[in-house]
Homo-oligomer: 219 residues x 2
């Protein structure tokens, strides 16, 4: 009983995510957003509210398509160590394969949002906490089954993995160097007695062309 939308919500949110991801919240103007979303400024505001609200929607869309899905997928791994190592491997590979050094939108945003916006901070922190919890669950599981040897308290081991992952995501933006990112992940796994990083998904043929600048494929 009303005029139907002419845009695909997921598609336009993808576009918004890409702008925020590449440039950050402040550096992205509403006009630029509207243009990349292929809609009018007024249409965008009508559909998503103001810039801040749109940002939150975009962030949520991003998280649904990457982080949350990713945690669930790896947590289903047969062993706790494989879950952790697989998750780290994928994080490193995403960081290196981006070609645009975007890093992680969640981490980027966590640093850009100021304490003057406590709502947004709480939202970001809650999302970060799901990563920490994932590591904690894995460590607990592995210690209980005897798969993971003793070491630092499980909470601390999880905190170390968590902090290391955040660091890797920071470096993904300034220096996406394989030796650096893999080295950090490798050392974290090794010194906690976890399995080594699995091989990158498939560095085989067909990649001889520099593949390079991908969009933002989820998975």
């Amino acid at each position: 009983m009303a005029r139907p939308r002419t845009f695909d919500e997921k598609a336009v949110l993808d576009a918004a995510v890409d702008r925020f991801w590449t440039q950050g919240y402040e550096a992205t103007s509403t006009r630029e957003l509207a243009q990349s979303m292929h809609m009018t400024l007024a249409s965008m505001h009508n559909a998503f509210g103001d810039k801040r609200t749109l940002f939150r929607r975009a962030l949520d869309h991003y998280l649904d398509g990457s982080l949350r899905r990713r945690i669930a997928r790896h947590e289903a791994a047969p062993s706790a160590g494989v879950a952790i190592a697989g998750f780290l491997r994928e994080s490193v590979e995403r960081s290196l394969g981006d070609g645009r050094q975007r890093g992680c939108l969640l981490v980027n945003s966590a640093l850009e949002v100021t304490p003057a916006d406590p709502d947004m901070q709480a939202f970001l922190d809650a999302e970060l906490m799901t990563i920490e919890s994932f590591f904690r669950r894995c460590i607990a599981r592995g210690r209980q089954s005897g798969e993971i040897p003793d070491g630092p308290a499980p909470e601390d081991a999880a905190r170390l993995l968590f902090a290391s992952l955040l660091g890797i995501r920071v470096l993904a933006r300034v220096r996406p160097d394989r030796d650096l990112l893999e080295g950090a992940a490798r050392a974290a796994l090794a010194c906690l007695g976890l399995p080594a990083l699995p091989a990158p998904h498939s560095p085989d043929a067909a990649a001889s062309t520099g593949s390079a600048a991908n969009g933002n494929t989820a998975s």
Copy 2:
């Protein structure tokens, strides 16, 4: 042979640092900068050039007053393990003691600056690399003297410490929680066979008043 300046360069740069540190580069307007520096917009531009140039000066001023000095101080420690543990302790303590959750200006900036500004990125990366090098030198020294037991390759151990530190600085901005930050640092030191975190500098009396919001004392 000309009219002398009425402002103290260090003082006004301190003010600029504080704005960029708290709000980030994009979210800080030139007018706001000028006001907090107690100078006119025109005077500011005359003395420091455009916003980007001023930012770089401010960043350099910040680094001189904190990171660089800090690395030199800890590197003079009697043992490599103490140097690393002391540096981490100070990073954690700064993160927790800020009261304004500013984190680290260098890390904040590393995420805000886009790959579209390669000069700035190179500058930031070079500065980050001094941290990595510090860790690497310490690890090498400690391994050679036998103080630090075998473990991951020295480069990888340094990379892990480096990434963990960056992660801790990210968390300093969103969740400056002692258990979290200390836990990550503790686990990193423990699992690399390094000495434990030293006690916080002095949690003694006189701190019963919430001390709280400090400015930006260097040291």
